[in-house]
Symmetry: C2
Subunit: 474 residues, 2 copies
């Protein structure tokens, strides 16, 4: 507890950076080596202290580096209790309470998405990428159940659609599932949004489900609700119309944007999500649940079980004395499954739905505040002039040497090198942490994201001052 409060004070550093070779060589009695003989308890305590010392304080109010940040104390207590219970989500026999909590959480999330009482199935997964993989797996099975026994060779060559700004896990899932990444048709974005027109034109091929043009049969569209970098929302209703027309599976990757559904003020941005056949939603992102906590929601009930079950009688006995529909082990591609639900359930008890709503609103208010600060400063430039939709705010820092230069390839080339240099200094100093990346024609820019409710306006001010300080002589 002492560690938690001290290390997340504003005055403490976010990280005490060392290069891999430095940590490997060992620092002041901290050695990574695994011994043959036991080490004394005092050394174990020192090891624990040092592990935290050289780690990164993701709960620090000035940590803006990832979509997951913050350290919710009730969630943390939930994690500790989960660890103490040390069981897994396999059968009701070993996990009665947690399996029921999973059901309650999934039903709640499904009703928030807008599905009716009779619809909805799902599972908590090890992260959003795996949730997206589940959606593609189940969609494929729904269209072509023979794939389970006969494999991809028995199917026509499939096409799936996703925008160029969508998460790379969709492409990865296509490779893993044996469809090949070439089956992924990347829909270009107009600045931030995929053009439904582009999707529509490509979707036409789906109308007959026959091979035309490149010979692929469309069956699946991934729409993103909250892209990783820009925090943009794909036009869900327009995409759902295309999917309806061509009978395509609509998956909404709301890993990052799903949290907005908790806020009455912002939930409208996900209008149309209720028409999805599946949804990825990561409470470990905007809702601040400790890592990991990610759900895949599937509208059609029973599909997940049918798709994945193998009925190994030696693991899932059918002659048990209780209702075995809670033995979820055969619904999944894992076997044992980590308990990721209790922390979220406990947080929900402690905050209520409305508490999550306020938390989300606060994160988005911080983004608006940052946006306004950037608008009025000459040493920064926004990537987009319009108000952020999510808590992502993207911008360049313009060091003195670059201000007032005419736009063009040369300026861009120099601007591209600014963010990495500032980031390197920032990691060395450990005062704050923010990510950067290039995207499309935009050279390296900073992406600030807010998901830690502990972050205040003063932290936003600090971030800009710190970037300006570290970049002042570039």
């Amino acid at each position: 507890m002492d560690y938690i409060f001290k290390s997340n004070e504003r005055s403490s550093k976010i990280l005490d950076f060392h290069h891999p070779h430095q940590l490997k060589e060992g620092l002041e009695g901290f050695s990574l080596d695994l011994p043959d003989h036991p080490e004394p308890l005092e050394q174990i305590l020192v090891d624990c202290r040092d592990t935290l010392k050289y780690g990164v304080k993701t709960g620090h109010p000035r940590f803006f580096n990832q979509l997951s940040s913050g350290l919710d104390l009730v969630g943390l207590a939930g994690q500790w209790l989960t660890s103490t219970a040390n069981t897994n989500m396999f059968t009701y026999e070993v996990s009665p309470v947690f399996l029921l909590m999973e059901e309650v959480l999934l039903k709640k999330m499904q009703s928030i998405v807008g599905w009716c009482e009779e619809e909805g199935d799902g599972i908590f997964c090890p992260g959003g990428a795996v949730s997206n993989l589940y959606s593609l797996l189940v969609a494929r099975y729904d269209f072509y159940p023979e794939v389970k026994t006969k494999g991809m060779c028995a199917l026509p060559r499939l096409a799936l659609f996703t925008s160029e700004h969508s998460h790379y896990s969709v492409r990865k899932a296509a490779a893993v599932l044996g469809m090949g990444s070439d089956s992924v048709q990347v829909v270009p974005c107009d600045e931030r949004y995929p053009s439904p027109e582009g999707l529509f034109v490509r979707g036409q091929r789906g109308s007959t489900k026959e091979q035309k043009g490149n010979g692929l049969v469309p069956f699946y569209v991934n729409a993103t609700a909250g892209t990783t970098v820009y925090g943009a929302f794909d036009p869900l209703t327009a995409i759902a119309d295309v999917c309806d027309r061509h009978k395509l599976w609509l998956h909404v990757d709301a890993a990052w944007g799903g949290g907005l559904l908790m806020s009455r003020r912002h939930q409208g941005k996900l209008q149309g999500i209720e028409r999805a056949s599946s949804v990825t939603w990561n409470p470990h992102k905007l809702m601040g649940a400790p890592l990991q906590c990610s759900a895949i929601l599937i509208k059609k009930r029973g599909l997940l079980q049918e798709c994945n079950q193998l009925c190994a009688e030696y693991l899932f006995q059918s002659d048990k004395h209780y209702d075995i529909s809670y033995d979820t082990g055969d619904k999944t591609i894992q076997c044992g499954r980590h308990v990721d639900v209790f922390k979220l359930w406990l947080m929900w008890k402690a905050k209520g739905s409305e508490g999550f709503g306020s938390q989300v609103n606060k994160c988005l208010e911080n983004a608006e505040y940052l946006f306004k600060q950037l608008q009025r400063r000459a040493d920064f430039k926004l990537v987009f002039e319009s108000k952020p939709e999510h808590s992502n705010v993207c911008f360049w820092y313009l060091p003195p040497s670059l201000r007032g230069l005419p736009p063009g390839p040369d300026t861009n080339r120099r601007l591209h090198e600014v963010a990495p240099q500032i980031k390197a200094k920032m990691m060395e100093e450990g005062t704050t942490l923010i990510g950067y990346q290039p995207l499309g024609s935009n050279v390296n820019f900073f992406r600030c994201v807010f998901s830690n409710p502990a972050t205040q306006h003063e932290d936003v001010d600090f971030l800009l001052e710190e970037i300006a300080r570290l970049g002042s002589n570039l």
Copy 2:
């Protein structure tokens, strides 16, 4: 702490069983419902207490139900610290210490498997089933790298081999990866072991890698080191010979048996594992690490990265100021990855390799003790007359009404119903917990497994007495 010690005392119950509908209706102020408004702190504490109360004590010395049991206090402390750090295994930037610990652990495990210094790659995964999936994924890519972009349609129809007693996750992985479960050639077992002869005959088709007979091209063999039910070890050396001869990928699923490598007395049972191209090894089973902790080890370096990387520049920037080879996020099919390494690293510090060795020896001694008790009792019958190889001991309880009956279908039919009835009573009473299942021609029998070092001979005695008591009037 108080909970941990009290709940794992022998005098306390392992579970306080309630049917799903009872827990759902709510018990004495324990409601699973998710509120709109926050609940008071006192209620949250009650919720925590009740969650533990209605859960299962997997750390109890009389819990014999799963391959994972026990509650290692250093491991638990490691979990708590991990939760407090709340980061993920994605980039060195957010997980410097944990990524280095992962490297150290993987190298150690690879050297224990018997690979040389230059060999070895791997990753910690969410469970053994996912580890097995990784092995199949990487093996496929090694033989047919075009699968990543072009999918299974560009490949010949593949065959993989696994024994009938192997874990069902191999078949599941084949379905997920788009090979189809029909690609899995199930090698029959002679009681406990797959016949290398059977494998050899089937493997012949691999010698030319051409389609013959059923038109499948063999490329992969899964051998099991420690089967789930019997704890049997496939003849690894003989299988490795077949794989060498026909240039097949040899995967060894040592999820359960890997722990034996820590014991000088028992490691010989895995002779030949050093010839594997990949190995699954779950420290959360026999080594007692808290859930989850599972590794996939891959002999050929670089393959995992090549197979899975998509180089999303917006997530994995190549212009960072540190050695980005530790940014493992693109090696995996997850994106964010839970930190499963610290608890194992800390346990290793606290026990040393030798501590794990003694712990494993103790589990196997308990199995031998149980075996000897069963040999001398007339009310129990062993499934196998020979000494257990692993900590699995399989047996039937013969209630008075079945003793002395001639063997035959009628006796078998009645015997089949004994274990489920005893198990149902056992769950209601909550005094101990053991699993049962049928397998092949063996009707429902109990499988006892030892992985909790807290278990003593008195607990083994108790188990037998309890089964006899609960089954005395059947």
